[in-house]
Symmetry: C4
Subunit: 226 residues, 4 copies
Amino acid sequence: MSSIAALRAEVCALHSELIRWGLVTWTSGNVSARVPGEDLLIIKPSGVSYDDLTPADMVICDLEGKLVEGEHAPSSDTEAHAYVYRHMPEVGGVVHTHSPYATAWAARGEPIPCSITAMGDEFGGDIPVGPFALIGSDAIGRGIVETLQGHRSPAVLMAQHGPFTIGKNARAAVKAAVMCEDVARTMHFARQLGPVQRLPAEAVDSLYDRYQNVYGQQPTSKKGAR
Amino acid sequence: MSSIAALRAEVCALHSELIRWGLVTWTSGNVSARVPGEDLLIIKPSGVSYDDLTPADMVICDLEGKLVEGEHAPSSDTEAHAYVYRHMPEVGGVVHTHSPYATAWAARGEPIPCSITAMGDEFGGDIPVGPFALIGSDAIGRGIVETLQGHRSPAVLMAQHGPFTIGKNARAAVKAAVMCEDVARTMHFARQLGPVQRLPAEAVDSLYDRYQNVYGQQPTSKKGAR
Amino acid sequence: MSSIAALRAEVCALHSELIRWGLVTWTSGNVSARVPGEDLLIIKPSGVSYDDLTPADMVICDLEGKLVEGEHAPSSDTEAHAYVYRHMPEVGGVVHTHSPYATAWAARGEPIPCSITAMGDEFGGDIPVGPFALIGSDAIGRGIVETLQGHRSPAVLMAQHGPFTIGKNARAAVKAAVMCEDVARTMHFARQLGPVQRLPAEAVDSLYDRYQNVYGQQPTSKKGAR
Amino acid sequence: MSSIAALRAEVCALHSELIRWGLVTWTSGNVSARVPGEDLLIIKPSGVSYDDLTPADMVICDLEGKLVEGEHAPSSDTEAHAYVYRHMPEVGGVVHTHSPYATAWAARGEPIPCSITAMGDEFGGDIPVGPFALIGSDAIGRGIVETLQGHRSPAVLMAQHGPFTIGKNARAAVKAAVMCEDVARTMHFARQLGPVQRLPAEAVDSLYDRYQNVYGQQPTSKKGAR
């Protein structure tokens, strides 16, 4: 169980990145991680303030979203996270926020056009919009999976709701959430004063390929492994 | 009097949430709490900097807004707070700010349309606009009460002035003020680049009902009680 | 000289309020104070980073802006501050920033319309625009004085340049700079999504009168004296 | 090698200014410095979090961008920095960010018009746009140099990418990046509510000349030397 203890600590700590980068207000965002090799996930408890969050507060659920271990009720978004883990085996982390600029694009139901190199790098194209879906069934999870499967983007803007992001682990999903808000903001500013062209498809392909394969440190490098 | 001491400390501490979430500038916002079981309220003194605020500085007034105990003059908005407590017995906390996005909607006299799930959750519909009213009489308090009675929203945008929020206690009223600014901002961004549809009424009902009854921790949970 | 030492410390410390409220970038703003009873002012040295500022760094100039005491060259805006002190004997503090929202109104040469109660309280009407004037002569100081004399507003937006504010002391001038940016921002947001009406003149008069005479603590109160 | 140790420490520390002034998100910006008197540059390693950066992590490259010393792969923007050092001998520091307002102008391919005195001071005219260029060749470096040679501005907005800035040393290039975002933001706000006139050319010349030659402390002053 010590790898679960480490994962609890990591998921807990990653919530502070949501605060630091301005993605969440009060208790409105959550991070989860898949427990490697088990049909379990670790997620934030519902409605608990980020200030009060400790690794011990993190709750463990099965991949149907049912509580397995923990003192608190899991995040009300747990069903959506669980659905993603059930249907996307390559996903090791999921993040949901109502970050303001990304949620503004979601409110209009408008994809963020891939017009700057940072979007080519991270998202490999537009950030797509998923269907409007109510909490309390499989609908949100299904909308996320149907939109992201076969798409390069690790972020989906659920219509009139907000962004969900995925990653190979929780940290990668948090990075996707942070960069999603960053480009949502820049593209919001860009569009406010005039039209913006999308990047040519070949440029996007080139940026995405390079960023995924060359950027950062190779695994032999200590810091680059993160 | 020890419950009053605790309430002084709580009301004092909650002002730091107004700063943290960017709701106030200089001395421009205030939090109050009803003293349970007594016709008294605890509120910030007028014009004192948030840095200097101590629990002992909080002043106690009766429900006409007259000073009962304290070294300082009460907030110049005390009459409005007192009017709310007199006429809405279910209210245990009141907050007033000039938070920038909510005040911008107030300046235009335009309700914030309920177009995102976060608004359905917290406000159960649009955030309504109250009348323009001058300080120095019952007019502001009356405008707040007339607008919020029979409305799900715990926030009202007083025209050309700013938001007032209510809650079962001071912390809940602060949360409503924080979420009011959050959705005012997101809806501002959304509307800047195109029209936004309101959510269907049934969806809003479903979100509001679930959030009020299912979200967070049940009272048996230690952290969820807050 | 101990009152000068205290004033050096106060002027130095007030620069941190410019940072805290987001009014300045790098070294782009300055605070000065009149030395009571002498034809002297204390001001920030030119181009020194806010992190490095100590009370000893503050420089003393005469009311022509000439250096009287200090190791550093005075702020390049000293002439404008000095002109204000020479021509407005009631002024004890001057602040200049390029705070972004106020400077945006200044860039268009557009007064900020008095459409919200916070503006009635603090500014007693619109925040006016002063002439475009180049640094290096009396022109900026003259433009400030001509615009603010006979005006309730302690803030002027110098065209295509930025705000200058005045006060009975340096702290009051800093408060005016902070509130000027606050209302510049709120009115910017308000106007982005539609037209905004000015408050009726009688309402502005009533707000301004009350705020100047009733708000805050009376001098017998320890904290309210600030 | 002790001057290289000092330069490593300085380049490392300057990255915290990018964070402080809101210019970077996650790992998306980098600072470099020329090693005086050698054909070497010091730059941030690729993809390492700002929290984790230590002076020892900084890497040393030749002016072709090839790693000479360091445990980590250099920033993926190293080729562009190196090209600038090769072709602009007067440049001692280069900074690249995706700061949001400057990148929004870059996304539209629109120069920032010189309409406020702060732009005259720092940039001596409009902030120009450079060509769209893909990473992985000389194209970015060439675009920066072709745009900035013979231009007063130390900042160029590379189209659909973001700003690059130069300076006589790394600190000056960081200052240019900070001021570029500052004026990009102010001019964005200004333009949102109406047209803005450029300053007359003579006024710009006068501002630029004075700021470059009179502003700040002369070299004999301890603090002004920075």
